[in-house]
């Protein structure tokens, strides 16, 4: 019968367990994890296999960022992450299950926060596997393509703090992107609209660079979620060099911070709307 002040309740811990059960009990989650890891590793390996030291600027030996090259698959796998995180929310609206979720726990912000936490943590884990495998597979491929100490590319490993930051940071990038996507999904409540919006936020600034005047390149790259967030993949050597050309105008951690601000904004808007709207 009706519970008093004691006894069990539908709280935050229960919401986390419920959201984890939801996530692990649909096949789409497994496929999304496989896609995230697979796409990252495959594209990274392909990129590493297709670059060579020939044709580089002989005046600047070692100006390729080998760590970044070996993590470039994130450009592709982020699309799978956006799709997973958006549909984790919008599929509930499409089926009407969101009502069951809000009946089970009428504290809607708790439900939404639990979903964001679970999806974010799952993507962080998949992202770590993806970036570790990509880095490990990419370095020998690059070495085989002439990226050797003799050509100005001393071997890198995860013992190098910059490489470790790039590898771990790539996973954090994907996790923050998942949070942004959960927020967008909860605000827009339709998969197509939310996925389009998030991918637009990621890629439109990149496309816009080709027709924007040069003086706008730096602010666009600094504040657009993808260009800012992926600055974490830059390793120290390349940072200095590319910063000289003003191509990477934000530091690695600051860039992730800007992506985190985008994610926070989307989630805050979702929190504000979810309590007010009819379910």
């Amino acid at each position: 019968m009706s519970a008093g002040w004691r006894g069990p309740r539908a709280g935050a811990v229960q919401a986390l367990r419920a959201e984890w059960t939801k996530l692990r009990s649909v096949p789409a989650s497994g496929w999304a994890a496989v896609a995230t890891v697979g796409l990252t590793v495959l594209l990274s390996a392909f990129v590493c296999g297709s670059v060579s030291t020939r044709g580089g600027d002989p005046a600047h030996p070692g100006d390729e960022d080998v760590v970044m090259l070996s993590l470039s698959g994130v450009y592709l796998s982020q699309i799978a992450v956006v799709a997973l995180a958006v549909t984790a929310v919008t599929s509930e609206y499409a089926s009407g299950m969101i009502r069951v979720s809000f009946l089970a726990n009428p504290r809607r912000r708790v439900v939404l926060a639990a979903k964001a936490a679970v999806v974010g943590a799952a993507v962080l884990a998949a992202g770590l596997v993806a970036s570790l495998l990509s880095f490990s597979a990419g370095q020998p491929i690059l070495a085989g393509n002439g990226f050797t100490a003799a050509n100005g590319y001393p071997p890198t490993s995860l013992a190098d703090p910059a490489a470790l930051r790039a590898v771990a940071g790539s996973a954090v990038y994907l996790a923050l992107l998942a949070l942004l996507s959960v927020g967008a999904g909860a605000v827009l409540r339709h998969a197509a609209g939310a996925i389009t919006t998030v991918l637009g936020l990621l890629f439109v600034p990149l496309v816009a660079l080709s027709f924007l005047p040069e003086r706008l390149w730096e602010p666009v790259q600094r504040f657009a979620p993808m260009t800012a967030g992926l600055a974490v993949q830059s390793t120290a050597g390349s940072l200095e060099l590319i910063a000289g050309r003003s191509a990477r105008p934000v530091g690695p951690w600051a860039g992730l911070g800007i992506l985190a601000a985008w994610a926070a904004a989307a989630l805050l808007l979702a929190f504000a709307l979810v309590e007010r709207r009819d379910a």
Binding site: M1, S2, A3, G7, P8, R9, A10, Q14, A15, R17, A18, E19, T21, K22, S25, V26, P27, A28, S91, E92, S95, G96, M97, R99, V100, S101, F102, L103, A104, N105, P106, R107, R276, D278, A279
Partner: protein
């Protein structure tokens, strides 16, 4: 505290349409209360308001004396069936109930008990996307019964059920009320609730038209009810249906021409 559902001046507008209009009623424990009215009368909206899913523009709804959103462990207090397809198609039936159980700290054995209760134990590990409408309806009922709640709210529970399923759910509703629970069931067909509901809330265009027992409706209490057939032995279905049609005549949204107004389909 007694198991009750209360609506107090409940009002909900969508743009210029008033879907629910100053609705007040109490659903008492120990009996089945039918919420009946034509399509578009506001039955589903009323239920969403009771369950805290939609916000009322005026008035208040309480379950067990409190607004739904203030319940500490809602599945233990109220069970609700709103829409049969409200599951993820890729999720197994058992997992659908399992995440719900986790959300309210219910023991996992309740999941198996609820599946057993609605006859879905055999298909517990099948994905709900392959379920028939009747099976999904049973899964929704299992979800409502998961927390063994004293208050139950079912929106059109017989939709999509075969005759055997309809017989089953009628028996279930009776036994739930017999255990002292408050049971509110909606239907747009009064005959679906005949022999099941003890009490009726008749609504049309969002307004309460009658708050009456089945017997009183038959005896012709209430505005303009057709009382002529009321003397018929055992209150045949035609007389109850006639009383209902008379009551809701002015409240239907879409009406065919006179030729189509045959009270008995």
């Amino acid at each position: 505290m007694d198991a009750t559902i209360e609506a107090d001046g409940l009002t909900k507008r969508y743009g210029r349409v008033t879907a629910v209009d100053r609705l007040s009623f109490t659903v008492a424990p120990g009996r089945v209360t039918g919420l009946v009215g034509p399509n578009g009368a506001g039955k589903s909206t009323t239920m969403r308001l009771l369950l805290g899913l939609d916000r009322p523009d005026a008035g208040a709804a309480r379950v067990n004396g409190r607004p739904y959103r203030q319940l500490r462990s809602p599945l233990r207090e109220v069970g609700a069936l709103l829409h049969a397809s409200a599951t993820h198609r890729g999720r197994r039936a058992r997992d659908h109930l399992l995440w719900m159980a986790r959300s309210n700290d219910l023991p996992p054995r309740r999941v198996d008990e609820a599946l057993e209760l609605v006859g879905l134990s055999e298909v517990a590990r099948r994905r709900s996307g392959g379920f028939s409408l009747g099976m999904r309806q049973r899964l929704g009922i299992a979800a409502a019964l998961l927390g063994d709640p004293p208050v139950l709210i079912f929106d059109e529970p017989v939709n999509g059920l075969d005759p055997e399923g309809i017989r089953w759910i009628r028996g279930l509703l009776r036994s739930l009320a017999g255990e002292g629970r408050a049971v509110l069931v909606s239907s747009h067909l009064l005959r679906e609730l005949e022999g099941t509901a003890d009490h009726l809330l008749v609504i049309g265009r969002g307004r309460l038209l009658a708050d009456t027992s089945v017997g009183e409706l038959l005896r012709g209490r209430g505005p303009g009810a057709a009382g002529q057939d009321a003397a018929a032995p055992a209150g045949g279905s035609s007389s109850l249906e006639a009383a209902y049609l008379e009551l809701t005549r002015d409240a239907v949204d879409y009406q065919a021409g006179d030729a189509g107004l045959d009270p008995e389909p």
